[in-house]
Symmetry: C2
Subunit: 242 residues, 2 copies
Amino acid sequence: MSKIKKGDRVPLYYQLMDIIINDINCGKYKENDKLPSERELCEIYDISRATVRQTILELEKEGYIYKQHGKGTFVSGERFKQDLLKFYSFTEEMKKLGKTPSTKVLDFEITRLNERTAKKMNMNEGDKIYKFTRLRLADNKPMIVETSHIPYNRFVGITREDLEREAMYDIFTKRYNAIFTKAEESFRPVLTRENEAALLQNAINSPSMMTERITFEGNNIIEYTISIARGDKFKYRVVLEK
Amino acid sequence: MSKIKKGDRVPLYYQLMDIIINDINCGKYKENDKLPSERELCEIYDISRATVRQTILELEKEGYIYKQHGKGTFVSGERFKQDLLKFYSFTEEMKKLGKTPSTKVLDFEITRLNERTAKKMNMNEGDKIYKFTRLRLADNKPMIVETSHIPYNRFVGITREDLEREAMYDIFTKRYNAIFTKAEESFRPVLTRENEAALLQNAINSPSMMTERITFEGNNIIEYTISIARGDKFKYRVVLEK
């Protein structure tokens, strides 16, 4: 077993972090395994409760572990790495990672654009759109809530059942011969609200990523989607090369 | 004045959001202006307190406004858009936006790499590095806290004063002829901790963006930086073209 070196200039909580991260990386602790309690960690490593508490806080913050109220501390699953330099399909990404993607359509309506969303989509207030909210799951665990706005006239005939059954981008390209020419995504960190937390099965005010995505076909916007993704499940990456 | 249409199928809170956002966009309310109180908004628009409260919540969540405990609700500044497809320099970006960037060096030490950071930097445990934490400000308002790890041997002679005075990348390229060949950034949403909140002058557990940045010079990593940016001040954008 790795030991804490008390004379070392590396702070004790940091040494304990390294030990636990190493235990996670080498598979001693697996996804959703329960960690020893604070008291147990104090005894195992002969260090103070305050040190253990700081270790746990830092590990939680770095996303290695999560707490369940009254139950203890558990090992998080690895974050899905989402590469930002390509057209992103939840369905395709999850399949690549060996996860089974699924989708629940929570709302589906044909409605008219309000002023604000019309501006975003470069369309007119009152134009007909599909508006739907989907919960995206991986191995039946909720990951993202997405609300999409899609111009009705470009995609006449889409139903709620289509979206339950098939990936949206597959419907677009296969049935409507859509060609994606450009996408813009913007990201910002937000806190989950009550309804989002309920859907994503995490606590209210958990850190999450809000993404706005606008997809173009030539000069026309064919998708405007706002999504909220669990902050403990994703990591967004961009590589810049000269 | 815009009116709320009570018979409309657009929810009342959403109509009020549109009105206030419009008032912000057209300059009726400016950065840091105080909004009318909940009670005043109820009277002005003849709607219920619950509706006004939902409007305020949504506007806060979307970053248009911020609350100050006991003082009221204020208009946020516009978010800085950070484009992810280029080498990012805080100093350069702020100058482009007409803001005056400044930097406070909070810690500066020459130390040795621990195991975990050594792995990230593709170096050996015990290798000599600079480790420093900088607070980045725009017009004297704190925006980002950054902790950087820089290989000592590649940049012998950097001082704390250098970093106060000059942009780090300028020091790298002008004094050490560094050539950046690649950078990798990964992002995730986190909550500010007590010390970060104090530095960034926002509330504990505010949504923020944690970025890890690794910069390469050929095969060598010359920078590993972890930063925490205020979530209400930045928006990260990526454009994908086919």
